[in-house]
């Protein structure tokens, strides 16, 4: 269906206000139903047996004793999940990750699963499953994995993107290069060059709700899945593909979601739960423990990145280059490629070159984490830019403004930019009172920019006008950050009715057309576009119904301010008809009134942010504390400003944790040492100051209201902003994330000794 998505300036009544979120009361009173809150009659409990080895060949699995245990109803292994992926490497990686086939690729990799009448029986059965492993050498560190004598994670891995292709396997899965100009010539023109190597450790999204589902397979081939996910239509497709189910026979309902941030964008245990249910003939509930979430869901990459930036004394950057190595777990992804694309995207560079290498390691399968791969790249580039400013003797914001990308700039990843917002965020930072506020003892200030691609995608929405004139809005993008409130505001705006008269729900896969998942900052961007389209279609129906009620031609009826109006001198004295009045007569004017929309919401436009951070460091202990933090980002149009601010604050909070404390710690045996929130330290409220936000509204030309996605970009600058703040506080350049107290202390001690 064609839909004109072009931006048109208008005054808003509902959009831009801050009503209470419709899901709020249920969430704060415990009534909201998350993944583990659903139950079915006769439901079994599933538990998963996981590899204790970082790398091991599975010689055999004997389930005989476990199957004989009282209360055990089904056991599955890879043999129950045959390979139906038909050469699709990405899908095969998901399958192999759900259940190891020939090798356990990391500590925590699933090797078998049990469904039993209760958890006690399921756990007892796990102990009776006999797995004969041949333990293999493993590699955990991203740099060690590139050594010529490193153990091979996958001995069939030949580096892609190389010409000529290598003849021998390695742990380097892919090479991707971006850039333009001549960096060697550019560096020759530079008066000052900064060149450094950096590392970032692996972090987890840290969503509070573990993966959880209830699966029920029926004997007629139909099946149901209740699940915590960012995309129930995607989960339906994943499960149907992996289990050989007909898509229409698998009905997936998304629960409320206690965080995903990219980690719930493809299946983990859900096909296993369905396979167990299919085998047992009963519903199966499978809930991951926190330890399992850390060991066996999808954290982000650990990285090792070399950056070189050269500039003239006046601050003009003459050349920039980066080599980025991203660990992707045991399966190839495009994480290094995304890092290579985003690293210098904030800048207008005549000569730039980035090369990304995708590195296989014996860690969990890397998955998206909020603006995936961009925060690490930004940390390194923005650190180098900051150091460059120091060496030149130029203000860090001014140096960035001087080199900022603008409309017409060829981006470092290829295309020429249209209108973009990096300049306004930098100007806003320069003018912000935070930048000129005095600093206290042992405090440092840092700032940094960040870039992320946003995108849209396939979207389908139903808008039903009920008999009393209220409206039910059924959408297919999971609400991860308040989108039901935002979409209700959009529907209210378009229809001209009250926000409280709209009820937005997330429809299941059997009741609405396909929707891509909520990722890429697309939830509100895409579904608001489809909601506007659906509302306009409903208005068209109501206009015709009003014409019938008045018994006048439809062309003599127009819609304004939530009412049908009769036009012209002939009918102009008729009182306008409200939505409620038209809805009340629907049964006699043609039946139910609805608007439907299906579209692809392309044109999301790229996104930029600038962050400012003040940090205080205790030089005796290396302990640090963020004392002030400001986020400046373009929202296009903030539909519900509170939730835009929430996204900005949430991204900053996650970035602060990543920068200062969070890290996967492995032992020499390749086992994860800190799979729990006591030892994997995410920030809590008492760790953080109130995070200030400044919303810029530069309309997106490709959305009717000018809306941009806002969910991801806010996690891109914090690593760099904090690293710059700490470096400025202690006088030592910090190059290893997380900048935890031991690392700060070590840097201070090294400096003192030297």
């Amino acid at each position: 269906m064609s839909f004109d998505a072009a931006y048109r300036s208008k005054m808003f009544n509902s959009v831009g206000t801050r009503p209470l979120r419709p899901d709020g009361v249920d969430k704060v009173t415990g009534r909201a139903r998350y993944g583990a809150d659903f139950n079915m009659p006769g439901q079994l409990v599933a538990r998963v047996l996981r590899s204790p080895h970082a790398h091991a060949r599975i010689k055999s699995i004997n389930t005989t004793r476990a199957e004989a245990l009282k209360g055990v109803k089904a056991i599955v292994t890879a043999a129950d999940l045959p390979d139906l992926t038909d050469g699709d490497a990405e899908l095969f990686a998901i399958l192999d990750n759900c259940m190891a086939r020939t090798k356990a690729m990391y500590d925590g990799h699933a090797v078998a699963a049990v469904a039993a009448i209760d958890e006690k029986a399921a756990k007892a059965a796990l102990k009776l499953i006999e797995v004969d492993y041949e333990v293999l050498p493993h590699v955990i560190d991203v740099d060690e994995a590139t050594a010529s004598d490193a153990p091979l994670v996958d001995d069939s891995c030949i580096t892609g993107g190389m010409d000529p292709a290598p003849k021998t396997p390695s742990n380097i899965a892919n090479r991707a290069e971006f850039g333009h100009g001549d960096v060697d010539a550019g560096f020759d023109q530079a008066d000052i060059i900064v060149e450094r190597s950096y590392k970032t450790e692996q972090t987890h999204q840290g969503y509070i709700e573990p993966h959880a589902c209830v699966a029920n397979c029926n004997t007629d081939g139909s099946a149901e899945l209740w699940v915590c996910t960012q995309g129930h239509f995607v989960y339906r497709q994943n499960c149907a593909d992996l289990l050989g189910l007909e898509v229409s026979k698998l009905r997936v309902t998304s629960s409320e979601i206690g965080g995903g941030f990219g980690g719930k964008t493809h299946v983990w245990t859900e096909p296993v739960a369905l396979a167990l249910s299919r085998k047992a003939g009963r519903p199966v509930k499978l809930v991951m423990s926190r330890e399992e979430v850390f060991r066996a869901s999808g954290p982000t990459s650990a990285t090792s990145i070399d950056v070189k930036v050269g500039a003239k004394k006046d601050g003009t950057i003459t050349a920039a280059s980066a080599t980025l190595r991203y660990a992707s777990g045991p399966y190839a992804g495009m994480w290094a490629e995304l890092g290579a694309m985003t690293s210098f995207a904030c800048y207008d560079l005549e000569n730039v070159k980035t090369v990304g290498f995708e590195i296989l390691v014996n860690r969990p399968k890397t998955t998206a984490y909020r603006a995936p791969s961009a925060p690490m790249a930004a940390f390194t580039v923005e650190s180098a830019i900051d150091e460059l400013a120091h060496k030149i003797g130029m203000d860090a914001v001014d140096l960035r403004i001087k080199n900022a990308a603008a409309e017409g700039t060829r981006s470092s990843y290829g295309p020429v930019y249209g209108p973009i917002g990096i300049g306004p965020t930098l100007e806003a930072a320069k003018a912000h009172p935070h930048m000129s506020a005095p600093l206290g003892k042992n405090q440092g200030r840092g700032m940094a920019c960040g870039f992320w691609f946003n995108f849209g995608g396939q979207t389908c929405t139903d808008l039903n006008v009920n008999a009393d004139g209220t409206v039910t809005l059924a959408v297919g993008t999971v609400d991860v950050g308040g989108s039901r409130a935002s979409l209700s505001l959009i529907a209210a705006e378009e229809l001209g009715i009250e926000y409280t008269d709209i009820k937005a729900v997330i429809a299941d896969t059997a009741t609405l057309g396909y929707n891509d998942m909520t990722d890429g900052s697309r939830g509100t961007f895409s579904t608001s576009m489809a909601t506007i389209s659906a509302a306009r279609n409903a208005i068209e129906v109501m206009r015709q119904r009003a014409a019938l009620m008045w018994d006048i031609p439809p062309e003599d009826v127009y819609w304004e301010d939530g009412h049908a109006h009769a036009s012209g001198t002939k009918h102009g004295n008729r009182a306008p008809l409200s939505v409620k009045e038209i809805a009340a007569e629907a049964g006699n004017t043609g039946g139910p009134i609805a608007g439907h929309s299906e579209l692809v919401a392309d044109g999301a436009g790229v996104s930029f942010a600038t962050h400012i951070c003040d940090i205080e460091v205790d030089p005796e202990t290396g302990s640090s504390r963020v004392v002030r933090y400001t986020v400046i980002q373009d929202a296009g149009k903030a539909v519900h400003p509170s939730y835009v601010e929430g996204q900005y604050q949430g991204g900053a909070a996650q970035g602060i944790g990543w920068a200062l404390n969070e890290e996967y710690i492995y032992g020499e045996d390749g086992r994860l040492q800190n799979p729990g929130f006591l030892d994997y330290r995410i920030p809590v409220c008492s760790d953080l100051p109130m995070i200030d936000t400044q919303i810029l509204e530069i309309p997106n030309p490709n959305h009717p209201y000018g809306v941009r996605g806002v969910g991801e970009t806010s996690i891109v600058p914090p690593l760099a902003a904090i690293a710059n703040a700490v470096s400025n506080a202690v006088g030592v350049r910090m190059t290893h994330i997380p900048i935890s107290p031991p690392r700060i202390l070590a840097a201070l001690n090294d400096t003192a000794e030297s």
Binding site: D163, S411, P415, F453, G520, D602, N702
Partner: protein, 81 residues
């Protein structure tokens, strides 16, 4: 007529060319003609490609019209969080 820049991974599938000139009015026509000329592109064109047209990235809207002389760059389809 537009000049289409291919990402590095596509070039071996298109006679090692970085830029290919194509007569096409829409993204759909562009991809079809490229695939006809270089059948090896069929695989990547099924779910792995995005198309930047004058700086705006399209992942789904293959009906997007290509202005004469537009800058067109084929990119790998991005992942998000």
């Amino acid at each position: 007529m537009v000049d289409v820049t291919l990402w590095a991974g596509l070039r071996p599938l298109a006679d090692n060319q970085k830029v290919v000139r194509v007569e096409a009015r829409t993204i759909r026509e562009l991809l079809r003609k490229l695939e006809e000329r270089y059948p090896g592109l069929r695989g990547p064109f099924r779910g792995e490609v995005a198309v930047a047209v004058d700086g705006v990235i399209y992942r789904n809207d293959w009906s997007k019209e290509l202005p004469e002389g537009a800058e067109v760059i084929l990119m790998r389809r991005l992942s998000g969080g």
